[in-house]
C-alpha cells in the first residue's frame, strides 16, 4: 500500500493540481459475534485506506475530484488516477474556496496501543453481566472494538495525526413466556471506559423487554388527557441533531433552514454548544475532515440561534469570517429541568420506537411505538402497538428537560450530551 508521504510526492509531480487534501487511515478492529453467550464468529481487521481530494483552479472556478488509492495501486497507477482526477476536476465548475490554513498541527496518536481483543471481551462481559439475574435473556450480541489512526494533510502545510478508539455493540434481549415471545433491539456506540454504563443499559433493557411482553394497546386502558410524552435516545438525537443542522452553513447555503441568527428556535431557553472532543463519546475528534482544529461554538443561546457552523467550503461560500469546522458533538446546557408539578403529572415514556422519524423539511416527528411506559404516580402501565406524532418546530416551544443526563452517540451524525429525556405535551397518540 502506498504511504501518505509517498503519495504526497506523486501528487507534487502533477503540475496541474492547484491544491490537495490527503487522508490516510489505518483501521484495526476486533469483532465478536455471539448467539446467546456462545461465540459464533471471531473477526480481526487490519486495513489501510488513502483518499485524496485534488483541486484544480481554472478561469474563476475551483474544480475538485476525489481519488481513492487502494492496495491494487502502485506509484504508476496512482499517478494515472491523479491525471484522470484532474480531467474530472476541470468538469466541476464550482466557485473558488480556499483550503484550511495552518494554525496548529496536531500529533495526538495514543502512546500505547489498547488491546482491541481485550476491549471487545470486556465489552461482551459487561453486556453479559447486565443479563445476570434477569428474567429475560440475550438472544444475540455483537461487539466491535475499533481503532483508527488518521493522518491528514493538505497543500497549505496543515498536517495532523491522531487516533480514535470506539466501541459499538448491539444486543437483543428477549422474553419468552406463555404468550408470544418478544424482543427489543438494543445498540450503543461509545468511546472507551464505559463498561459500567453498558451493564446498566443492558439491565434496563432486560427489564424493558419484560414490559413489552406485558404491554397492552392504549385502547385497553384509560389514557389521561393532560399527558406529557417523554422521548429519549434516538429520537432525542434526531431532534437535537436537526436543530444543530438547521444552523449549519450547508443548510443555510442551500436555503433549506427554517432559522437564521437571532431567530427564536425555542421559547424554552437552552444552550447548545458544539465541540470536537468529549470523553467517552463515539466519534470524538480534535479536527474535522478538512483539517480545521475544532474549538467550541455556542450555536443556540437560551433558545435563540447564535452562530452558524460547518465545513470549510460552505463557510467560505457563506462569507463567514471564522470558519468553525464540522463538529461531531453537541452539548446541551443551561436548560430548565422539569418542574415537580409536571413530574407528578401522568407521563408516557417512549422507551422504544420501531424507527424514530423526523422529517426535517416539515418538522413531522414520531413513529410506531414498540414499548412505552405510562407512569401515573407509582403505577406503571406498559403500552405497545400505537404511534405518536407531532411537529417538532411547534413542540419545541413547550419542551421540558429531564434532570437526569445521558450521552447518545451517533455513528454517522452528531452525538448529544445533555438531558436524558425531552418532555412534550403537543403530540398525538393514534
Amino acid at each position: 500500500m502506498i504511504t501518505v508521504s509517498e503519495f504526497k510526492k506523486i501528487l507534487a509531480e502533477n503540475s496541474e493540481i492547484s491544491a490537495y487534501e490527503i487522508v490516510g487511515t489505518v483501521n484495526e478492529s476486533r469483532q465478536l459475534f455471539y448467539v446467546g453467550r456462545e461465540l459464533e464468529t471471531n473477526r480481526s481487521v487490519k486495513t489501510e485506506e488513502l483518499t485524496a481530494s485534488v483541486y484544480v483552479d481554472f478561469d474563476e472556478f475551483r474544480g475538485s475530484s476525489t481519488v481513492v488509492i487502494t492496495s491494487a495501486d502502485d506509484a504508476e497507477s496512482a499517478a494515472e488516477k491523479l491525471k484522470a482526477a484532474v480531467i474530472k476536476a476541470k468538469q466541476a465548475k464550482n466557485p473558488y474556496y480556499p483550503l484550511a490554513e495552518k494554525t496548529e498541527n496536531l500529533k495526538a496518536v495514543s502512546a500505547s496501543a489498547q488491546d482491541l481483543t481485550q476491549l471487545a471481551k470486556e465489552t461482551a462481559d459487561a453486556v453479559f453481566k447486565g443479563e445476570e439475574g434477569a428474567e429475560s435473556q440475550l438472544n444475540a450480541t455483537e461487539v466491535f472494538a475499533d481503532h483508527h489512526i488518521i493522518h491528514f494533510l493538505n497543500s497549505n502545510d496543515v498536517e495532523h495525526e491522531y487516533d480514535q478508539y470506539s466501541i459499538f455493540f448491539e444486543s437483543v434481549p428477549s422474553y419468552d413466556g406463555e404468550k408470544e415471545d418478544v424482543e427489543l433491539y438494543f445498540h450503543k456506540s461509545s468511546g472507551l471506559n464505559q463498561t459500567e454504563k453498558y451493564t446498566d443499559d443492558i439491565r434496563s433493557a432486560m427489564v424493558n423487554v419484560k414490559y413489552r411482553y406485558e404491554a397492552v394497546k392504549p385502547e385497553e386502558v384509560k389514557i389521561p388527557e393532560n399527558l406529557l410524552i417523554a422521548v429519549k435516545e434516538e429520537m432525542l438525537l434526531n431532534i437535537m441533531g436537526n436543530f444543530a443542522q438547521e444552523l449549519s452553513y450547508n443548510r443555510q447555503f442551500y436555503k433549506m433552514s427554517h432559522f437564521k441568527i437571532d431567530d427564536t428556535i425555542s421559547e424554552v431557553p437552552f444552550d447548545m454548544i458544539l465541540k470536537g472532543v468529549e470523553e467517552g463519546v463515539y466519534g470524538s475528534s480534535p479536527v474535522d475532515g478538512n483539517g480545521i482544529v475544532l474549538k467550541e461554538t455556542k450555536v443556540i443561546d437560551q433558545g435563540k440561534a447564535s452562530a452558524y457552523w460547518g465545513n470549510q467550503r460552505f463557510g467560505y461560500y457563506m462569507k463567514e469570517k471564522e470558519i468553525t469546522g464540522s463538529y461531531p458533538i453537541a452539548v446541551l446546557e443551561n436548560y430548565p429541568v422539569i418542574s415537580e408539578e409536571d413530574k407528578n403529572k401522568p407521563v408516557l415514556y417512549i422507551m422504544n420506537f420501531s424507527a424514530p422519524q423526523l422529517d426535517t423539511t416539515s418538522g413531522y416527528f414520531g413513529g410506531e411505538v414498540r414499548l412505552a411506559l405510562l407512569k401515573e404516580g407509582d403505577k406503571i402501565t406498559p403500552l405497545t402497538g400505537f404511534s405518536v406524532s407531532g411537529n417538532i418546530y411547534e413542540a419545541i416551544n413547550t419542551v421540558r428537560f429531564s434532570e437526569e443526563t445521558d450521552v447518545v452517540c451517533s455513528p454517522r451524525g452528531i452525538s448529544i450530551k445533555g438531558p436524558k429525556y425531552l418532555y412534550f405535551d403537543q403530540l398525538k397518540l393514534h
Binding site: 478492529s29 480481526s44 481487521v45 468538469q91 466541476a92 464550482n94 438472544n139 424507527a355 414498540r370 404511534s387
Partner: protein, 461 residues
C-alpha cells in the same frame, strides 16, 4: 470492463494461501473484493465528478473445529499463514462456542461478467445531467435546489476455497433526482430514481421523469398532515416493495432463526397473507441493484420463492446460518464490505404481479389514499410489527382522486393484519434498484425491492 486485473492476479495467491492454511484448518476460503463507484452530481450550487465508496481487500475465513474466524486485510500477496493465524488468535477467555460443523462445498470453477451495455464518458453524463437540471430549475422559481445524480457501481470479486474458484464482475447504474422547493418557511423535498444496467437507458429514463418530479415537489408544498386512522389504501410499486422488504424480507433471514429472533420459524407452511400474495427474493430473481452471480460465501445466486399464494414456504440464508440449520444456502450471504461479516441479507425482493387493473383498484376505494414513493421502514422479525414511511399520499373518494395531498405518511401495525388485508393486486409490477438496507442500524448493502400496486387496509399516521 471485466474482472479487475489486480484480483485476477491474486487468484493463484489465494489458492496457495488456502493450500497452506488447510494444513491447520478444516475449512479455508478467500474472498477478494474490488468495488468502485463513479459518482457524478449536477446540482443548483455544485458539480462533482468523483470516485466514492471504493474498496479493495480480502477476507480469509477459517474453521478450526470449534468456531469460524475471519481476517480482513488489504493484500494477500506475501501474506503467510502464520500472520493470518496470529491475526485471528483469541487469548484464553474460557469461551464456549456455537457448535457449527464444517462448511461442505461442491467443486465449481466459473467466471461471470455483466458490464454496462452502453457506457458514457464523464462529460456526456454531466452534460445530460446539466440539461435536465437547467430544465427543472427554469420551470418554477420555487425550486430552490435541483440535484441530479448518476452513480455507477462496478464490482469485481473472486472466491477461492479448496473446491471452488469463482470470479465475477458486474455493474449497476443508479440515477436520481432530488428536488427541493420553498414557499415562505414551507420547504419540501422530492426524490425519484431510475436504475438500469445500462448508462444511456438510466439517463433517458431519468430525463423522462423530470416534469413529474417538478410537479410533485410543487404539489408537496400544499401537503397537509394526514388525519391518523385506518384507511383503504393502494400502494405504488415502491411502497409494495417496502412492505415486502420490511414485513417478510427481514423476517425470513435465516441468521435471525439461528439467533432465535425470527417468528417466521413457527409459520413455515402456514398462511401469512392473502392468497393473492407471492413473494420472491434472490440475486437471480430479477436484474437489479442486487443482481450478482455468487454471494460473499461463494454460493451461486438463486431465486427463492418465499411466499406462495399467501403461504410461507422458505427463507433466505448465508452459508453459515444454513449450515447451522441444516439447510441448503440460498445465495444471500452478503457483506457491507470486505471489512465486515457476511449475514443473511435480502437482494432483489418483490411481490409478484396479480390480475387486477389499477383503474379498477382506484374505482373500488370509497375513501382512502394512494400511497406513493418509499422513504424508509423498519423490521420487527420477532414480533411482526411494521413501520413504512411514504413520501406522500393522494386522497381518493368515491373511486376518484380529490386532488388533496398528505405528507409524510407512515403505515404501521401488524404484519399479518396488513398482508391478510390485501384484496387486489395489479397486473403490472416494477422492481426498483435504488435502495440500501441495513441490519438493525448498520451493515448497509445495496438492495432492490418492488411489486405491483396493491389494495390493502392499513393504519396511517
Amino acid at each position: 470492463m471485466a474482472l479487475e486485473k489486480f484480483l485476477k492476479e491474486r487468484i493463484t495467491d489465494a489458492q496457495e494461501l488456502v493450500r497452506e492454511l488447510r494444513k491447520d484448518y478444516d475449512y479455508v476460503s478467500v474472498l477478494g473484493s474490488y468495488a468502485r463507484t463513479k459518482s457524478i452530481l449536477s446540482s443548483t450550487r455544485m458539480t462533482s465528478v468523483d470516485d466514492v465508496d471504493n474498496e479493495c481487500g480480502f477476507v480469509i475465513k477459517l474453521y478450526d473445529g470449534t468456531h469460524y474466524s475471519e481476517y480482513s486485510t488489504n493484500e494477500i500477496r506475501g501474506l503467510g499463514p502464520e500472520e493470518v493465524k496470529a491475526a485471528v488468535c483469541l487469548p484464553e477467555m474460557n469461551q464456549t462456542f456455537v457448535k457449527a460443523p464444517v462448511l461442505e462445498e461442491e467443486e465449481l470453477v466459473k467466471s461471470f461478467d455483466r458490464s454496462d451495455a452502453e457506457p458514457l464518458n464523464d462529460e456526456e453524463i454531466l452534460n445530460r445531467l446539466n440539461e435536465i437540471r437547467t430544465y427543472c430549475e427554469q420551470k418554477d422559481e420555487r425550486i430552490i435546489n435541483a440535484n441530479f445524480i448518476y452513480r455507477k457501481r462496478s464490482v469485481s470479486k473472486i472466491f477461492v476455497s479448496e473446491k471452488k474458484t469463482l470470479d465475477q464482475h458486474y455493474e449497476w447504474i443508479n440515477s436520481m433526482i432530488v428536488l427541493a422547493a420553498r414557499e415562505g418557511n414551507t420547504i419540501k423535498q422530492h426524490n425519484c430514481s431510475e436504475n438500469e444496467a445500462n448508462s444511456r437507458l438510466a439517463l433517458d429514463e431519468l430525463s423522462a421523469r423530470k416534469d413529474e418530479a417538478v410537479d410533485t415537489v410543487l404539489k408537496l408544498l400544499s401537503a397537509e398532515p394526514i388525519t391518523p386512522g385506518y384507511y383503504d389504501i393502494i400502494t405504488d410499486p415502491t411502497i409494495s416493495g417496502l412492505i415486502c422488504h420490511e414485513a417478510f424480507g427481514h423476517g425470513v433471514e435465516q441468521d435471525m432463526v439461528v439467533k432465535h429472533r425470527a417468528k417466521s420459524v413457527h409459520y413455515v407452511g402456514k398462511q401469512v397473507g392473502s392468497p393473492l400474495l407471492n413473494m420472491h427474493d434472490g440475486a437471480a430473481a430479477a436484474l437489479s441493484a442486487a443482481s450478482y452471480f455468487f454471494d460473499d460465501d461463494g454460493v451461486l445466486a438463486q431465486d427463492t420463492h418465499i411466499i406462495e399464494n399467501g403461504i410461507l414456504k422458505r427463507g433466505i440464508s448465508d452459508a453459515l446460518s444454513a449450515l447451522e440449520l441444516g439447510q441448503k444456502p440460498s445465495g444471500n450471504g452478503r457483506r457491507e464490505s470486505y471489512k465486515r461479516k457476511a449475514y443473511s441479507r435480502m437482494t432483489n425482493t418483490f411481490f409478484s404481479p396479480g390480475k387486477d387493473k389499477l383503474e379498477d383498484m382506484i374505482k373500488s376505494i370509497k375513501h382512502g389514499y394512494y400511497i406513493v414513493n418509499t422513504n424508509n421502514g423498519m423490521e420487527d422479525p420477532k414480533n411482526w410489527q411494521i413501520q413504512c414511511t411514504a413520501e406522500y399520499g393522494l386522497e381518493i373518494k368515491d373511486g376518484e382522486f380529490t386532488g388533496k395531498i398528505v405528507a409524510p405518511v407512515v403505515i404501521s401495525g401488524s404484519v399479518l393484519d396488513l398482508l391478510n388485508s390485501i384484496s387486489m393486486v395489479s397486473d403490472e409490477y416494477k422492481v426498483i434498484g435504488s435502495g440500501m438496507c441495513g441490519k438493525g442500524y448498520k451493515e448497509w448493502v445495496f438492495v432492490s425491492d418492488g411489486g405491483p400496486h396493491m389494495k390493502a387496509r392499513a393504519k396511517l399516521g
